[in-house]
């Protein structure tokens, strides 16, 4: 991104002296093992029914020309995040050095304004009861494993990715692997028209998954039973 494309003072991409972490997901290498989802669950004790990262898939085509497309999803740690703008109490904020979008659990009032603002559905409400973790009834999301990255580790999902589909690093460092991948490959971000400047870049993502399709309209009725069960379970 050039200096001219930076429209908001909150953006830190290509700002000298600051790091801007990003993730590249090479979808061509994803085998849909869901190990990233499991690693994330293990790292954060994420309750049933909600996920910080998830891997939806879609079967595209007609036999014999069919393919299963995976699209690992997580918070996009946008450079211009609408969730931060919309939080009335600054419970969600952007870390200047690194670009992490984090959550202050003790401050969150649970108005769900950030959930409504997020174009990626990356935020979710934690249930009222959890077995091991006292953080309940507040909004949660992926943190790019802030606690690991600040100790020079990569996020848990990246660490566990068996196909090296997920790559993490500092995009402001021209020698990093993510910089190399973003420079050398045609990359795609989700819903670029929203102007959020997401920092999860996809290589080889399929349009059937990145865009709304007709079956999105049909799905609510198909999944009504599951949806009702989910709401009953979490008393929503």
């Amino acid at each position: 991104m050039s200096e001219e494309l930076r429209v908001s003072p909150i953006e830190t991409r290509e700002v000298p002296g600051k790091r801007r972490f990003a993730m590249v997901v090479d979808v061509r290498r994803c085998i849909g093992c869901m190990a990233c989802q499991v690693a994330c669950k293990a790292e954060y004790d994420t309750p049933l029914g909600v996920n910080r990262t998830w891997v939806p898939y879609k079967v595209v085509g007609k036999y014999p020309n069919v393919k299963k497309h995976f699209l690992p999803r997580l918070c996009n740690h946008c450079d211009d995040p609408p969730c931060v703008r919309n939080c009335p109490v600054e419970a969600t904020f952007k870390v200047d050095d690194g670009g992490f979008i984090l959550q202050r659990y003790e401050r969150c009032i649970g108005c769900r304004s950030c959930m409504a603002a997020c174009p990626y559905n990356a935020r979710f409400m934690l249930p009222a009861h959890r077995t091991y973790t006292p953080i309940t009834n507040v909004v949660d999301k992926c943190t790019f494993c802030f606690h690991r990255v600040t100790q020079n580790l990569v996020p848990a999902c990246v660490q566990t990715c068996i196909g090296r589909s997920r790559v993490f690093g500092d995009l402001n460092d021209p020698t990093s692997e993510v910089s190399y991948l973003v420079a050398k490959n045609a990359t795609q971000v989700l819903r670029p028209e929203q102007g959020t400047k997401p920092h999860v870049f996809y290589i080889g993502a399929d349009r059937n998954q990145t865009e709304f399709g007709r079956d999105a309209y049909r799905q609510p009725e198909v999944m009504e039973l599951e949806r009702a069960a989910f709401k009953r379970h979490f008393k929503i």
């Binding site: 996920n51 998830w54 891997v55 939806p56 898939y57 879609k58 079967v59 299963k68 999803r73 609408p82 703008r85 919309n86 939080c87 009335p88 109490v89 600054e90 401050r107 969150c108 009032i109 649970g110 108005c111 769900r112 304004s113 959930m115 409504a116 603002a117 997020c118 174009p119 990626y120 559905n121 979710f124 409400m125 009834n137 507040v138 819903r191 028209e193 929203q194 102007g195 865009e211 709304f212 399709g213 007709r214 999105a216 309209y217 799905q219 609510p220 009725e221 999944m223 599951e226 949806r227 989910f230 709401k231 929503i236």
Partner: protein
């Protein structure tokens, strides 16, 4: 076949729609109470509207607090150290508190039973703050750039028109058989409901001609149960029918027709707020 779609819950549930409905009526009643200082025909409504408005503020405030997943932290939103002015919710919270304080002072002044300049000034300030309530609730939706239908600058204007329509409808019911007040309230209901209709047609048109997300949202809002609520109850029964009834009520001055129109407007504005809140959220749950 065999697809794995992770579904998400909607961000805002029906409580929020009820809150929108309540806040609209209380703003409308506040306008009527101020209007009574300008139009003598509305004088019998002054106290009733002011008390009703404050009572509904209590109901609305409780609904808003109950909808938070951390209700006891509602004070955080008024903490100057936490307030984040880029969020419409922060402005809304300040507006609600200011309206509550002004409304109380206005009622204290009304209880003195005098036609004072202070009373008129307080009525005006209360009405101006009441105007901020539908504006902020509409703005609360319109700032979400990724939500089709919500993300339109007309949303706050639509909410103001809905507030005038539903407030006037409650005012009509409160006015009883007062012909002079009904004549004015009929005008308010007719033109505000007609404005709601025009705006709805505009919003539906632009939504249908938008991108795939907008087009799918249009389909969700115009078919099935949501379609029945939005088009059936909200638009046809709650907007088009009362406009027609009010237009003809003018010719014959029938109180029953006005009452029926007022009830239809209230039903319609409740359905519209529910559909406008929930409809555009459905598609997003599957992204």
């Amino acid at each position: 076949m065999g697809d794995y779609v992770w579904f998400h819950d909607v961000s805002w549930h029906a409580t929020y729609a009820i809150y929108f409905f309540v806040i609209g009526i209380l703003a409308g009643l506040s306008f009527l109470s101020y209007g009574s200082w300008m139009m003598p025909a509305l004088r019998p409504l002054r106290e009733k509207a002011a008390y009703g408005s404050l009572g509904l503020l209590v109901v609305g405030g409780l609904l808003l607090i109950a909808d938070l997943s951390q209700p006891l932290r509602f004070l955080n939103i008024l903490n100057p150290a936490y307030l984040h002015f880029t969020s419409p919710l922060a402005w809304g919270a300040l507006n609600i508190v200011a309206f509550g304080v002004c409304s109380l002072l206005y009622i204290v002044e009304l209880r003195k039973g005098e036609e004072s300049v202070r009373g008129k000034t307080l009525a005006m300030v209360t009405a101006l703050l009441a105007l901020g309530l539908p504006i902020y609730t509409g703005y609360d939706l319109s700032v979400h750039q990724s939500r089709p239908m919500w993300n339109t600058p007309i949303m706050p204007v639509l909410f103001v028109a809905l507030a005038i329509a539903s407030g006037s409808a409650v005012g009509t019911l409160l006015a009883g058989g007062n012909q002079a007040a009904q004549k004015i309230l009929r005008e308010f209901m007719l033109w505000s409901t007609a404005a709601v209709g025009v705006m709805l047609i505009g919003i539906l048109g632009t939504t249908n001609y938008g991108g795939s997300a907008e087009e799918l949202t249009f389909m969700i809002l115009t078919t099935g149960t949501m379609g029945m609520l939005f088009i059936g109850v909200g638009f046809l029964a709650g907007t088009a029918a009362p406009v027609a009834m009010l237009f003809f009520a003018h010719l014959k001055e029938r109180t029953t027709g006005l009452f029926l129109a007022a009830i239809l407007i209230l039903l319609g504005s409740a359905a519209l707020r529910y559909a406008l809140l929930m409809g555009p959220q459905q598609l997003q749950t599957l992204y």
